[in-house]
Amino acid sequence: MPLNTILLLGAALFCIGLAVVVTRKNAIAVLIGIELMLNAANLNLVAFSRFDAVELQGQIFALFVITVAAAEAAVALAIVIKVYQHFQTANLDKINELKG
Amino acid sequence: MLIYTIFAVYAERKISAFIQDRYGPMETGPYGLLQTVADLLKLLQKEDIVPLAADKRIFKVAPLIIFTSVFAGFAVLPLTSDFGGSQIETGIFYLLAIVSLDVIGILMAGWGSNSKYALLGAMRSVAQIISYEIPLGLSVVCVIMVSQSLNLQEIVYQQGIFINAIDPNAQNFLFGIKALGIETTHIGGFLTWNIFRIPFFFFAYLIFFIASLAEANRAPFDIPIAESELVAGFHVEYSGFRWAMIMLSEYGMMLLISFLGAILFWGGWNTPLPNIGAVALADWTSGEPGTIAGHLWGAFWLVSKALLTVGLQIWIRWTYPRLRLDQLMNLSWKYLTPGAIILVLVSALWRLLMI
């Protein structure tokens, strides 16, 4: 597959993710958007790794990104649950105890 | 290429149907072979009901995902020494990954149905599957550590007399311990199977087997679909062909897992019979890779091993009572996982002995 295709796909994924993050009000949806953005980066990394045949740094990086994203997701879920317990909603617009 | 695909799909359907046959009525057609067809026809005619309250898109897509993920798992299985789906280097890794997608499908099915039974079933199912995925994965890691490969075909090759076909310098020793000095490279048979090569792999296989039962939602780990509690679990709202897909993938999963177990631990398509001196049983009961004999022998050994395992699973289903959810979770997290971790550590040391 030509590199450009993958990069375009990555860019599209990133933009979609960003759009989701910006427009969605539900915390979970935002998290999904973030996940899309991360995967766009992963796609790029793996694609570029082709030119780094000796060390495959990009692939290793992608592996780490996946791991960290998983950890982040775990923490995120825990926090969202906590928020849900307190606010009875995951709508970001309604979660605004802190202001100023 | 298309021919190949159709063949594979056909073979898969055949196999799935074949297993369904075993507990279905044996009367349809000669040897019950037509049962599948009858089932399918019946299901095709059934009305496709999508509940009003359901999330339509998710509800409709879920069976597809479940089926596809299980079916795609078959792609990397080496059926014989020279025939199998894909030869990708990361075969086992891919297999575990794609089968995990199953979980998403199940969750979608449960969620999409918007039924309390279905959702609860799905949640339980997911909790169970992911819990058992850990010991499953760890026990697979044990095998990989010893075989140093993710390619299933290569793993199988290592377990038989054709080991030198992939690595001319490779040698096998009794129990894998080089220091014992008993070379089994050309003896082959069950002695070079992983489960004999590395004796404690018996425990690994035990973990693998239990976990795989749970993975396939089979009894005694079938609380997600417990008829008596949850009616039918996550697929309670399904009917017709979609339901058929779900059932099909469940049995497909069983078979897949059985294949995997056979490949990883029981020598795959390798013959169980060793060469004992001049009595070259192993040579006789397996063809050279690439020849027709090789195909036939390989397929025979593998399929019989897998079917034996499936038989075992069905036997267990009717033998053991269902576990409660807490017992189930305890078993996974408090016994199997720590056990598997210890096995991983032991395997690491064992591998050193093998060099």
């Binding site: - | 894909s86 918007n114 009616v231 305890n330 720590p338």
Partner: protein, 155 residues
């Protein structure tokens, strides 16, 4: 059998497409022959004949989430174990470095696993692994089997 210009992953793709095709074909075939007579009763959610109240999309036992999180932890561990498992016992590397490689890799991974095992131990100790046991309510049902037998079975 495999066309030379198709990579191994191509085969996998064929499988996936095949599965989708199979399902689609099946669905299309079914849609042609199957009856289509929806009525309200059929379309209601099944709840053992009871009327459904509300939707099912409510909150779940927190334990499900905890299991999910712990699973995530170990699944991530396994991600690292796979590449390591393939390389740590490499014959050439081990013999080339006179076993230093192996010991280094093993120590490293042992530490990694040890820390994760500590995580498991922590979760265990803090009781996150204990699923809520069902409360045994006294049943009115007069069973011929003595209660002790049930108890024995439950534990």
């Amino acid at each position: 059998m495999i066309e030379p210009n198709l990579t191994e992953f191509g085969t996998v793709l064929i499988f996936i497409l095949g599965a989708i095709t199979f399902v689609s074909v099946g669905l299309i075939a079914a849609s042609i022959i199957r009856p289509k007579k929806p009525n309200y009763e059929k379309l209601t959610t099944y709840e053992s004949g009871e009327e459904t109240i509300g939707t099912a999309w409510g909150q779940f036992n927190i334990k499900f989430y905890i299991v999910a999180i712990i699973f995530l932890l170990f699944e991530v561990e396994i991600i690292y174990l796979f590449p390591w498992a393939v390389i740590f016992g490499d014959k050439e590397l081990i013999q080339g470095t006179d076993y230093t490689w192996a010991w280094f890799a093993i120590t490293e991974m042992f530490i990694f696993i040890f820390i994760l095992a500590l995580g498991l131990a922590y979760a265990w100790r803090k009781g996150y692994l204990d699923w809520v046991k069902p409360v045994n309510r006294a049943s009115d049902f007069k069973s011929p089997i003595p209660a002790e037998a049930y108890q024995k079975y439950r534990d």
